[in-house]
Amino acid sequence: MSFEVQAAALGLTGAAVGLAAMAARVTAWRARRHAVGEVGTPIAGEHPSLREPYVLYFTTEQCSTCRLLQEPALARLAAPVRRVDAIAERELAERFAIFPVPSTVVIGSDGAAANVNYGFA
């Protein structure tokens, strides 16, 4: 009886998970670099010259993390939130390089993205 194969399998899995985590961080870093500074769309009815900071909230109809975690968190925010369906509004999702849902983008008073959070924040 030997545990060599099991130990090697554990090591291999650990390495794969580590690499995947690193790849996810690099992807998020690159996406954030691309997205920060991109211009958001004004909330319907808002005058473009009278903008206040707001949050673009990217979600989908089938995102349970969005409903269970992100939406209660956003409900506590004082800033206005614009809900964006990342599949229906693909162009906007691509502009901010949205790869997981939920994702949130803070649009500053200049209309440009000041901060981007990929995943629950």
């Binding site: 009886m1 099991q6 291999l12 599949i87 997981p100 849902v101």
Partner: protein, 147 residues
């Protein structure tokens, strides 16, 4: 908003069942080759459960045994079952790959199985469903048509 509901306790029991089966196969493989057979058996259970949710073994254990006896409390939330089913199917495909690798390389078969267990654990412990994110990305890129 999706009008359907999903019992998240059933999902958690399903994930726990997958993790437990893989860990037993992993540890048992050091003692007997018979334990390795749990991997193809799990592949069948996962794919069958994806195809027909009423045939999902671990969910049925929850609905017919754990829930009626109050061992696990239900947690029904407004949700769509589709991404969760997709995630299980994706996990099932990986377990099929592990099953195919079994006669070729036990090391790779165990590593792929453990990877599925790790992803199931991330979902169970932190509520982060990697398979659901893959489902979203396929929808966003237009590969998969989503409602």
């Amino acid at each position: 908003m999706a009008a359907s509901t999903v019992d998240h306790s059933a999902l958690k029991v399903n994930q726990a069942g997958i993790i437990l089966t893989i860990l037993v196969a992993f540890a048992g493989s050091a003692f007997s080759v018979w334990f390795e057979l749990l991997i193809p058996a799990l592949a069948v259970v996962m794919l069958l459960g994806t195809w027909r949710p009423d045939l999902a073994l671990f969910k049925q254990i929850y609905f017919n045994f754990l829930k009626p006896r109050g061992i696990v409390k239900p947690r029904v939330v407004e949700d769509s079952p589709v991404p969760h089913n997709f995630a299980q199917g994706l996990g099932g495909v990986f377990v099929v790959i592990a099953s195919v690798l079994l006669p070729l390389s036990l090391l790779l078969a165990l590593a792929v199985s453990l990877l599925v267990a790790v992803l199931a654990f991330i979902n169970l412990a932190f509520g982060y469903c990697v398979g659901c994110q893959v489902y979203f990305l396929l929808g966003r890129t237009g590969v998969l048509k989503q409602a």
